[in-house]
């Protein structure tokens, strides 16, 4: 049996044709889900709150982080000291809050350093390719082949140990060391994304409209690459904070008496038996912070990943 021809296809009734508005009506709601979700907000509150506490530390009703109260040495919470005292009776809460300063400076500072330099290198190599790429990218790969922690450890050891090295200089060198280590990681991510986005037709379209190369790079490509850079940078902040702790264990982290989460844990590890709360409380703060940063990194990539696939 032959299916009969549907005459409505060949004989269109003009009144039944949809109008331009009907065909091209924009979707009433954005296809993207609005909002970040509870987890992301909790993470933002946690990280933001810590940053706020660190900034406001001098005006908070907490004792000086270097003031010793012999009666709370190695004592757990109590006696008006919320988290107890450390090995020599300094207020642990105060040290953790002041330690947030160093840890955040190291974490965000190192990644910002790596993001700027690695980002510029990645953007240029990915966009122009050619000779620049064939010189810079192998160098980055060599840098990547060296164990990251060993590299940072040796950089800090060479540049900021010995007599007469102030704690500010030490902090700067730790930021620099971890920053240098993060350049190739962030550079590679940026380059890979730049390569992918530079192939898009709108880049050619911008070129066909007479836009200059640097303009295309900054206005067309960079905004599209930023989400990926941001996502990996947030992970990087967590890694840098933990890495500072690692450096502290080797005695080349942030210099005492300036507290950092790393050196509080490094100092407190001798007291694990008698006063485990020092390491435990600090580690919980460290753990929650790294988790929050990782989660935020995931949220960023998920959110922008969805949008890429929509387009």
């Amino acid at each position: 049996m032959q299916p009969s021809r549907d005459t409505s296809v060949t004989h269109l009734d003009p009144s039944s044709l949809p109008t331009i508005e009907a065909i091209e009506a924009p979707p009433s709601r954005s296809p993207r889900k609005k909002g970040l979700g509870v987890g992301a907000w909790l993470s933002i509150i946690w990280v933001g709150g810590l940053a706020l506490l660190a900034i406001l530390a001098p005006v908070l009703p907490i004792p000086d982080p270097n003031e010793s109260f012999p009666e709370i040495a190695r004592q757990g919470p109590g006696n008006g000291h919320l988290l107890g005292g450390d090995a020599i009776g300094r207020d642990l809460l105060s040290r953790i809050i002041y330690g947030t300063r160093s840890s955040f400076i190291v974490g965000f500072g190192a990644v910002a350093f790596g993001l700027v330099l690695g980002g510029i290198l990645g953007l240029i190599t990915g966009f122009f390719r050619g000779k620049v790429d064939s010189v810079v990218t192998p160098l980055m790969n060599v840098l990547l082949a060296i164990p990251q922690f060993v590299l940072a450890l040796s950089l800090v050891t060479v540049l900021a140990t010995g007599e007469g090295v102030g704690s500010t200089r030490r902090l700067a060198v730790v930021v620099l060391g971890l920053g240098i280590v993060s350049i190739p990681l962030l550079g590679r991510i940026t380059r890979a994304n730049t390569l992918a986005w530079s192939e898009r037709e709108f880049v050619l379209a911008a070129r066909a409209m007479g836009a200059k190369n640097w303009r295309i790079m900054l206005r067309e490509v960079l905004p599209n690459v930023v989400p990926a850079m941001l996502s990996i940078a947030l992970l990087g902040v967590g890694i840098a904070i933990v890495a500072e702790g690692g450096l502290s264990l080797f005695g080349v982290g942030v210099q005492l008496p300036t507290p950092s989460w790393g050196n509080i844990i490094a100092e407190g590890r001798d007291q694990m038996r008698r006063a485990p709360h020092i390491v435990i409380f600090t580690s919980i703060v460290l753990f929650l912070t790294v988790m929050a940063l990782n989660y935020l990194g995931d949220v960023v990539s998920r959110k922008f990943g969805v949008r890429e696939s929509v387009l």
Binding site: P3, V9, E24, P26, S30, G210, P223, N224
Partner: protein, 389 residues
């Protein structure tokens, strides 16, 4: 030069002067297997206000041709030949000299509106970018012009749409925005590289009408690149059919459809399904594939797929020659449609086709019975050509 209404004042009369003169352009790419010649010795001219349709299947070099003319080739491409734009040779320009032309004098509309717009930039800003760069407009002037352009391409509530992002718009709307971007600086020559291929059939005609309207108002010359002869049929003044990097037939539109000579043009035309064909008519496809551009076949490049092929076609490449009636109608074939050799084969082929579709004699046992579809039962495996889309 561009008023705030987004319109360039028309200058000159259509067809008065040659705007574009392309002479023997050849473009090749270095590939791993050797040099692929994507455009092979193409010459054409285009006058102000006229439309040239370039037709060919995928890989025939039509997009590369328009990019070669515009100078928008990737780094590895090699181009030879000459391109004259408004009488000046533009083949030897460097990037910064080309940039003066791009957008301002010639612009391009891309195939896929989904990727031709920057996803993270407001559409308004994508239009004002080039206005501010080429025409040194102030921010507010550029914005007014952009809104006028959005209105000109018939985007409803243009003021609001100015600050929309591409993902908030449909494909047809985005293609309108792409057109607005290309028209922004009032180019004299517009390349439309398959402007409707990625769009719904219902939107295609709207976009083509819009292009034609804008072209009329601005006296632009347009090169309309497409694989669909139907798209250019009513809209181009002249059509060039490309195959394997060469123009194989070129004629004013009416002449081409009345008196086509090249078997490839015929094959392209018969590959378009017709609404008045009976139901279940098989689609005519061109057998084989487009030739390998690294090792093109000897002789005529269409010879391996040509139904009317003769021994001479496989040895010798036919030159592009004018027909006896019309110097504007040129084709590259030794045995064009209408020649006795071709007609003989056509009769044979028609007879064969008739045999193949003739009803089977009743006494012959059916080797494979046709799938039985119970009356009233919806057929799932045989697509209904009328019900589709």
């Amino acid at each position: 030069m561009t008023a705030v209404d987004g319109l360039t004042p028309p200058s000159g009369t259509p067809g008065a002067a040659t705007l574009l003169d392309v002479r023997d352009v050849t473009t090749s790419f270095r590939t791993e297997r050797g040099v692929a010649t994507a455009v092979d010795g193409v010459s054409l001219t285009l006058e102000r206000g006229r439309t040239l349709g370039i037709v060919g299947e995928s890989g025939s070099g039509k997009s590369v041709l328009s990019r070669s003319i515009m100078g928008l080739l990737p780094a590895g491409a090699q181009r030879s030949g000459q391109v004259f734009f408004e009488g000046k040779e533009i083949t030897g320009l460097d990037d910064s000299q080309y940039r003066e032309l791009w957008g301002d004098e010639m612009a391009m509309i891309f195939q896929d509106p989904m990727t031709a717009l920057n996803p993270v930039m407001k559409i308004g800003n994508q239009i004002t970018e080039s206005l501010r760069f080429h025409l040194d407009m102030s921010k507010s002037d550029a914005k007014d012009t952009a809104v006028a352009l959005l209105k000109a391409v018939k985007i409803p509530s243009a003021e609001k749409r100015f600050s929309s992002y591409p993902h908030e718009m449909s494909g047809g709307m985005r293609q309108r925005v792409v057109i607005a971007v290309a028209l922004a600086c009032g180019p004299k020559l517009l390349f439309a590289d398959e402007p409707t291929t990625a769009l719904d059939v219902t939107v295609q005609a709207q976009i083509l009408d819009l292009l034609a309207e804008q072209q009329r108002e601005r006296y632009m010359a347009m090169i309309l690149v497409t694989h669909d002869l139907g798209v250019v049929a009513g809209r181009a003044d002249e059509i060039a059919v490309m195959y394997a990097g060469r123009i194989v037939e070129q004629a004013p539109t009416a002449t081409l459809f009345r008196d086509l000579r090249m078997p490839y043009t015929e094959a392209l035309l018969s590959a378009i399904p017709k609404l008045d064909d009976p139901s279940h008519t098989r689609l005519a496809a061109i057998g084989g594939r487009p030739p390998d551009l690294v090792n093109p076949p000897k002789g005529c490049s269409f010879s391996p797929r040509c139904p009317y092929v003769q021994p001479r076609c496989r040895d010798e490449a036919p030159p592009l020659v004018a027909t006896e009636h019309d110097p504007q109608h040129r084709f590259a074939c030794f045995y064009p449609i209408g020649s006795p050799e071709t007609e003989e084969i056509r009769v044979e082929l028609a007879a064969k086709r008739l045999m193949a579709t003739a009803p089977r004699p009743p006494e012959a046992p059916a080797a494979s019975p046709p799938p039985y579809v119970a009356p009233g039962e919806p057929s799932t495996d045989s697509p209904d050509p009328t019900g589709g889309h």
